[in-house]
Point group: C2
Chain length 114, copies 2
DNA sequence: AATTATTGTATCGTTCCGCTATACATAGGT
DNA sequence: ACCTATGTATAGCGGAACGATACAATAATT
């Protein structure tokens, strides 16, 4: 069983992860947390102290917007991508792939035989 | 022409990059800088203020070892991987690939058509 | 010959992000 | 009644990448 990724590995790509989770449909904080956890097979488990400040940052940058909804019984803060957020997602995703290609060419020889 | 990668993207993989550059043969700081620059097609340009503290950290962790050599005319500080460093390189590379797979499954739909 | 750019290593202080710890509140299960 | 899961939030810490700065030897340019 593999452990969590090192914190520093996530740094700089957590924004991108969260944006990508929000791309399909609106989510609230806790559901983002669970989705990422599931999608990464437990290798990404964002602590609340990481997630919420991150969401506040993204909102301050107008990449996502939020609204409260208590109609489902429970008070939840929903988030959705803005138009700016969608552009940022595409741009960040493209840059990430370039970075990944670059890394692969560097460390390709030291990777375990797949 | 693409620009440099964002600093935070590199964070957590710079160690791995440097270790991989040192894997083939010993290098000194400046040559590591140039190699990474070249291998990344100018998208990774480590400032001295990043590179040298990083090398000192790796050495303190016994992942690399160093010696001075002035025989080639110029005083240079050479670095080579230790046995521990080689193991770390393999481990970090493996972990990075898992991380990359995870990212790809997350952002795959938002990647530009290649 | 003098000046500039490149090579080469190093440190200080700032900035910023992920984390731990802590806090508070509602809902559901035993 | 108690415990767990759900749900959001902030304060403070630690650490890495960076810009600025410093110093010095060598190569290139004028």
């Amino acid at each position: 069983m593999t452990e969590k990724f090192e914190s520093d590995l996530l740094r700089g790509s957590l924004d991108l992860m969260v944006l990508s989770v929000l791309a399909s449909d609106p989510q609230y904080g806790y559901s983002i947390q669970k989705r990422l956890q599931e999608a990464s097979r437990e290798k990404v488990r964002l602590p609340a102290g990481t997630l919420y400040p991150l969401l506040h940052r993204l909102e301050a940058d107008l990449l996502i917007r939020s609204w409260l909804d208590s109609s489902t019984g429970r008070q939840r803060k929903w988030y959705a991508l803005t138009a700016k957020g969608k552009k940022r997602l595409a741009a960040q995703a493209a840059q990430w792939q370039q970075y990944a290609d670059c890394m692969k060419s560097l460390i390709g020889n030291y990777l375990p035989a797949s």
